[in-house]
């Protein structure tokens, strides 16, 4: 249940209670309950949404879209200043780091790995071939095409524990709070019986709606983002949280993958924001005389 629907439901219940009570010595009043943030970010003035290891489908560039979305949300709904920097091709960087450590890359498609510097900066401009400098433009080149499920994603986990890497990145941007993580956006298909409402008319032409069990084939997506918050001063992980959201549409309904991605991210964003800043839950209470 979303906060909005919960508020609507509670208002209805409240109205019902008031009607039941039928008394006069009460006053309905709107209140805003403050919820403290999950993390103490008072030590930071800036936030860097660095990049994500994305996978699941090639229809959406999960890394680029997630970074853009989080930055725009943080810009308006967080006290921290958002650093505008190039989006990190994190899967590729993880690959490079792993290759450096043990001489082999993480993915089987390591032929596509390009020797890039570990920390692209905001100042990188006027590169002769933008596609070559921006591996995210082609997910196949940065190892993300090989990420299909959580198991594939788990192989990249090491990068988040690489304190030296994140500390170095933090130094580059004056020790901000770094937001990174993984985003798995996978197609989902299912079939089975679901309850639907059907209009029926009786012999007198009166309309009514009855619930019926219908066999349906449905398709959609599952979104599993994991947000990792890293201290840019030390490179250490401060907090991490994983979400799971999914949506299914009737087989004949065509919904673009990107629309579905935003619809699912909309459900996650409030929780993400409440990690960093205090949120207020609006509700109604009854004052008594």
């Amino acid at each position: 249940m979303t906060a909005r629907s919960a508020a609507a439901a509670s208002s209805l219940v409240l109205a019902g209670t008031l009607a039941l009570a039928g008394c006069t010595g009460f006053y309905e009043i709107p209140i805003e309950t403050p919820i403290q943030p999950k993390m103490d970010v008072t030590g930071f003035q800036r936030v860097l949404v660095a990049g994500f290891i994305g996978g699941g489908t090639e229809d959406v560039d999960a890394n680029l879209e997630t970074v853009r979305l989080l930055r725009s949300q943080l810009r308006t709904k967080s006290p921290l200043r958002v650093i505008e920097a190039e989006v990190l091709p994190l899967a590729e960087i993880a690959n490079t780091e792993a290759s450096r450590d043990n001489g082999t890359g993480i993915t089987t498609s390591s032929a596509g790995v390009m020797p890039v510097g570990p920390i692209p900066t905001a100042n990188v401009v006027n590169t002769p071939d933008p596609k070559a400098a921006d591996p995210k433009a082609d997910p196949k080149k940065n190892g993300e095409s090989s990420i299909r499920n959580e198991k594939d994603l788990a192989r990249f986990d090491k990068i988040f524990a690489d304190v030296a890497y994140w500390k170095k990145l933090g130094e580059e941007y004056q020790s901000p709070l770094i937001v990174t993580g993984t985003v798995l956006f996978t197609p989902n298909q299912t079939s089975g019986f679901v309850m639907t409402n059907r209009e029926v008319f009786d012999s007198l032409g009166r309309r009514s709606v009855v619930p019926v069990r219908t066999y349906m084939e449905r398709k959609g997506f599952i979104l599993q983002p994991r947000f990792v918050f890293i201290d840019g001063r030390t490179g250490a992980i401060l907090y991490s949280e994983t979400f799971h959201e999914e949506i299914l549409y009737p087989q004949n309904q065509s919904v673009p993958a990107l629309s579905t991605y935003f619809e699912l991210m909309d459900r996650v964003i409030p929780s993400f924001l409440s990690t960093l800043s205090a949120q207020k839950i609006r509700g109604t209470r009854v004052l008594l005389k």
Partner: protein
């Protein structure tokens, strides 16, 4: 002798009725605070309302409505522990009051969610 008995009876009656009169007086004063608190809360002056309802429960600790309003003010301030205690006190005094129960249930939903988030 009769006069003495009469005087004793009068003294007894007066002393027995005195606490009830005092209680009624306290309830009236408490009610004044509660009503003033409602007016200021409706104008968004929650700090003042909190102060008034605190006074109200001090004046009459058996006044369930005052405890209910105090709980709401604490909730508005984000003081969840204080709000919980005040709601529980209100319910203890008036367990059948549906409106206090409704307020408490709504508060509990938020409080439980906050506790889950902080892992407490």
């Amino acid at each position: 002798m009769r006069r003495l008995i009469f005087a004793s009876v009068v003294v007894l009656i007066v002393s027995a009725a005195a606490p009830a009169v005092a209680r009624a007086d306290d309830r009236d004063k408490s009610k004044e605070q509660v009503e003033f608190g409602i007016r200021v809360a409706q104008n968004g002056l929650w700090n003042e309302a909190l102060y008034r309802w605190k006074k109200a429960v001090e004046l009459d600790p058996t006044y369930a409505a005052a405890w209910n309003n105090l709980a709401i003010a604490y909730e508005h301030e984000g003081k969840f522990e204080d709000a919980k205690k005040a709601y529980e006190k209100a319910l203890e005094l008036d367990p059948k009051n549906l409106m206090i129960r409704q307020n408490y249930d709504l508060f509990k939903e938020i409080n439980d969610r906050t506790k889950r988030r902080s892992g407490k």
